[in-house]
Symmetry: C2
Subunit: 341 residues, 2 copies
């Protein structure tokens, strides 16, 4: 059991879910410390039936903490997490800042658990759109190496934080009433629209969100040869990212084999019967911790191709759940080992 767990970013969209998950899963910790920006410090929150005061995140607030889980913007993670490592804590970070650092482990417990167990510094949790895709890819990759991935995403506004969610509701209401609305989280109206840009422009005409799907996937699967072409699109869905994924594998994987590989892979739920209209939808995957897969079919344009539809709760498996699963993995390893000494 962890002695003292520091949670950073408890007032954010992911942070609030993190608290709920730790309660539900009876996370093995003796005590907690709740950290946020100076703006939220002093406020109280309810956790495990008690009232707790939120403390301000500072460089010297990690004394005695053996685990830190952080859900913050990149710049906060950049500034404060090295102090947590120095204080001796195991640090799990949900931001994008540390993921591609060669000294940092980038981990999905179902995919590359050993990387978390071997880590000596920060352990990063991947970007939401990457995580659900890589869980599904790994199930196939173990059967036949993946050569190429073409993915188009249908991403929910909750990925743009609390303001993204507020914008969708307020913007939709205004639109239905014929009123204007000034969006804060989006550069274009998201209500009843589709915006083919998430993140900022990077190289080659791709966005930061798209290149995360390329580089994080290669790092997690430990295979720099996988070719990936992503298109990331924001759509007016409150929560859960959907992805249309086409893969080419070294040898053909039939839909029947793929269905079996997905079904037996930890953390994947197959929901696949087109004849009766069964496939994952954002509306039925929200508040779930798994990655849902359907529309599994032969890629009729390539003999080694396979296509499928993949949905997951981007705040859960795409963020909070994955971070907590990393912590649980470490706990199981560390404390069971200690127990057998």
């Amino acid at each position: 059991m962890f002695e003292k767990v520091a949670l950073i970013g408890v007032t954010g969209a992911v942070g609030r879910i993190m608290l709920r998950l730790l309660e539900e899963r009876e996370f093995p910790a003796k005590s907690y410390k709740f950290l946020a920006s100076a703006r939220s410090a002093g406020k109280t929150l309810t956790f495990n039936g008690g009232q707790h005061t939120i403390e301000e995140l500072t460089h010297d607030c990690f004394d005695g903490c053996d685990l830190v889980i952080a859900s913050t913007p990149d710049d906060i993670a950049a500034e404060y997490l090295p102090s947590a490592v120095k204080a001796g804590a195991t640090v799990i970070d949900e931001s994008g800042y540390w993921r591609m650092d060669p000294a940092v482990a980038l981990v999905i417990p179902e995919v590359n658990p050993q990387a978390a167990l071997d880590a000596t510094g920060i352990i990063a949790s991947p970007n939401c759109s990457t995580t659900q895709m890589v869980v599904a890819l790994k199930a196939l990759h173990d059967a036949s190496p993946i050569r190429r991935v073409i993915v188009s995403t249908y991403q929910a506004v909750s990925g743009a934080g609390t303001q993204g969610s507020l914008d969708l509701v307020a913007g939709s209401k205004a639109h239905l009433e014929g009123d204007d609305y000034a969006y804060q989280a989006f550069a274009h109206p998201i209500a009843f629209n589709a915006i083919p840009q998430i993140g900022s422009e990077k190289s080659d005409g791709y966005t930061s969100e798209e290149l995360k799907m390329v580089y994080e996937t290669r790092k997690i699967l430990g295979d720099e040869s996988i070719q990936i072409n992503p298109t990331c699109v924001r759509i007016p869905v409150a929560n859960c990212h959907s992805e249309s994924i086409t893969v080419e594998t070294e040898r053909p994987i039939s839909p029947t084999e793929a269905r079996e590989l997905f079904a037996k892979f930890p953390g994947i739920v197959v929901n696949d019967d087109l004849a009766t209209g069964q496939y994952p939808l954002p509306s039925n995957c929200t508040d779930q911790d798994e990655v849902f897969v359907g529309r599994i079919r032969r890629d009729i344009s390539h003999e080694n191709g396979l296509s499928f539809w993949c949905v997951s709760d981007n705040l859960r498996k795409g963020a909070a759940t994955n971070a907590i699963q990393i912590a649980e993995l470490i706990a199981a390893h560390r404390f069971s080992k200690a127990g057998t000494k």
Copy 2:
């Protein structure tokens, strides 16, 4: 100038736009006949400033008509259009029924105009999701033959007819107020959701909408070797379909060359500057007749690949506009020829 034009399906979502377009474009016709089902017969409509009575569609209502433009469900097109052909009319059909008939021309005026001019029977207008994609593909195909297409669509509810549009508004309002709503045009809630099924299940795990994109594209481009992998998804957008398209061409086409090819192709508007957030959106393409292209970039997963984002008004270029452009093409050819006799 056409002597007498019969318009079938004038009360539907596409039919109403057809009337507006004929007015706006000063379509060359001396007189019109407005046809619909028995349910709508006897009602009146306003066209070119006058009031007109809608007549019932029957097998012998085409006497004296030299042009028929039909926007109806497949079964109506199947039953009545042969009678229009027998009566000697040029028949342009927007339904899906006749498109793949070998005796029928399937036409996009910017792509294969000669097929319309050579036609002796029905001339079909392609499915909305096909049309906008093929306009864009043709611009590339002329420079280097297209080998493979992978497309994921983001389709608007207006493609599901008037009831689809009503469902989105009513379902969204109900959802925002926490109420239930019984959807009529969709098997799942479309408000704030993404449904990866349009049309019915066909072969190989693909839907009817998806296979239309395969077979219609090959027929229009006259190239049965093009490999196409479509995923068709309905999203909560009122109007305009968006498509994430990746193509492989025989030789590589650079983004710079592609931008030039698109820009000079008739009917395409390039809107492409990621740095300043410029790309086509459903919200700014509605009520436009063109096909809009942006996010033009190298496919970083394939040396002969190119990716782009394509948006068009599915009721206009995807249906009404294309049908009327076919009629205008025939008029220009027939009546200018007559004039030079």
